[in-house]
Symmetry: C2
Subunit: 345 residues, 2 copies
């Protein structure tokens, strides 16, 4: 039995208490300053307000200021923040991570650095510690509600050190939480981050069909599948461009599938697909955090800046560029279907 | 303007008349001996009985015995048979194909040869002509109804000769029918054939959820996505094993997506997922042709025979092997989730 400390009590961070405590570990869930009310509510009734599930009784709850106590004796630190909390995590948590304590982030993403390069979150956080810390990350197709309900789930952990990866896997695997491992941090993070951007892209076709044929008309799958294929092709190019392993595209496909169906990214894509400008769509989804928009913007800007000579031309990514036109430049939907025609000779 | 002759008047062959005739070509649709009633019905009322769409008036209709006439002066021959008709096509049509007339097959598939190797349909058919014929093939995410309704569609053509591929593309591309090209016949055919087998695999999770929670319970996506990811990984290995280009996996992802939603393969997967033995499921779907079952069986048997030393062990394909256990050996569903955990170090 180990002590597993989770910092970040949003939906995904909190869902991680299920495999962690099912393995018999002592689980400590620490809220960020933004999670204060989640921790309070869970302390009172035991039900997490956004995950809408009762956390196992034995989970210990902490507010942000009790972090040091929660870290004492821990064998694994899980970072449970979204990409919007990663800056806070880097500044406030990373310097406090004891040497030798491995970190596993549920945060997915690529960060644009000052020289225009796109770096993975694990690599960026590791630098912020100021001392050697092994930072690993989770990715792959998982809806937090379903994980909390112990549905069969297959995810991946990436990290630089295979021994550490195997140790973390041994702490967390269960009969319903299945874990693949990869040392291709770059390819893996590119795949699992970009699936958010491209799920928005696939959902555009759903909204376009609603606009054309009415909201309750049967779905059309050829256009959705065309966007799914183009998404896969563009992600494959990005992985290659960033120096990841091409086979890491497998982590993209299933994750894109689940993200098209689950939640907020689908909603914004449908609204844009109906022809709404982004500002109106955002207004309708007020209060919803849009990781898809953040990652699409960040990667598009890195490509468009032309700072990194090694990067491909933005023209290689027509779907991503159209998403960027919509979210950053006020364009309304107009899919460049013809640009998706590829030649592999 | 050219003459485009389509032999095989099933749903997909017949749907091809739409892009062909929208390009202004003379289109001749020839039924196989099994399509006799389709051609008769289309001649009488103009509505195709299974595609359920009126064919454009200018399409000329032929019965099998009028094939020679229909081939006269043709600039392109489209083979519109399913994989169950490919033997007939090889024996009856290929020897009659005039030299210099390119062929484009809508048939997808891998054929198990006597020495245990898996060969693509275009390569096998080309041999059956007895004289040089360029055999190319279509694949990719397309539901025939939606193509007939001119919905945005992105497919791929594969062939050995890039000049021929570009010529066929020029004959068929429209504002809604978008065509990628690849000379990786092996990788492409593996991707588009295996998507049928694996769509059955993904649909298992839908049936399992129905069995567990009732038919009208909300779908669970983590298990479906886990199967989607494993499918992609196994197909990636098959492409590599057969000597295809790894990047051809892009043709798998969108096609798997559409096949999970569209039609018969989904139905058989759901029934097996509910726990029915294959014989019962087949009885319920009486009269439905099951390409998914045929391709899963053929590829599994090639792997299990051990004839080809270069092929990977069947253990590398746990989902495909479980599908085979169900369709060929009477097993009921029991997904080997744990075997999907991969290591890429």
């Amino acid at each position: 039995m180990s002590i597993i400390t989770i910092i970040g009590a949003g939906m995904m961070g909190s869902a991680m208490v299920f495999p962690a405590s099912d393995n018999g570990h002592e689980v400590r869930l620490v809220g960020t300053p933004l999670d204060r009310s989640h921790i309070e509510a869970a302390r009172e009734g035991g039900v997490h307000p956004t995950l809408k599930r009762k956390l196992p009784d034995k989970v210990k709850l902490y507010q942000a200021e009790e972090m040091e106590e929660a870290l004492e004796g821990a064998g694994l630190l899980i970072g449970g923040v979204s990409s919007f909390g990663v800056e806070w995590f880097g500044a406030e948590v990373m310097p406090r991570v004891p040497e030798g304590l491995p970190v596993l982030m549920v945060t997915k993403g690529l960060i644009k650095e000052e020289d225009g390069s796109l770096a993975s979150i694990p690599d960026t956080l590791a630098r912020q510690a100021g001392h050697p810390v092994s930072v690993n990350a989770v990715g792959g197709p998982v809806i937090s509600f379903e994980l909390a309900d112990r549905k069969q789930t297959l995810i991946g952990f990436c990290g630089r050190d295979k021994q550490v990866l195997r140790e973390i896997k041994a702490l967390l695997e269960t009969s319903y939480y299945h874990i693949s491992l990869t040392t291709d941090v770059t390819g893996f993070e590119c795949a699992v981050a970009m699936k958010n951007a491209y799920a928005l892209g696939v959902a555009l076709a759903i909204g376009m069909n609603e606009a054309e044929n009415g909201e309750n008309s049967p779905e059309k799958y050829n256009p959705q599948a065309a966007l799914f294929e183009e998404s896969t092709r563009e992600c494959q190019k990005l992985i290659r461009m960033l120096g990841g392993k091409e086979e890491s595209i497998v982590f993209f496909a299933g994750d894109l599938y689940v993200t098209v169906f689950g939640g907020r990214t689908r909603q914004i894509g449908i609204l844009l697909g109906r022809g709404l400008p982004f500002e109106e769509a955002k207004e309708l989804l007020k209060g919803v955090t849009l990781e898809s928009v953040a990652i699409a913007g960040r990667v598009s800007e890195a490509l468009l800046s032309g700072q990194k000579k090694e990067y491909m031309s933005p023209e290689e990514f027509p779907l991503l560029m159209h998403i960027y036109e919509m979210i950053a430049r006020g364009a309304t939907v107009s899919i460049p279907w013809q640009l998706f025609e590829a030649e592999t000779m």
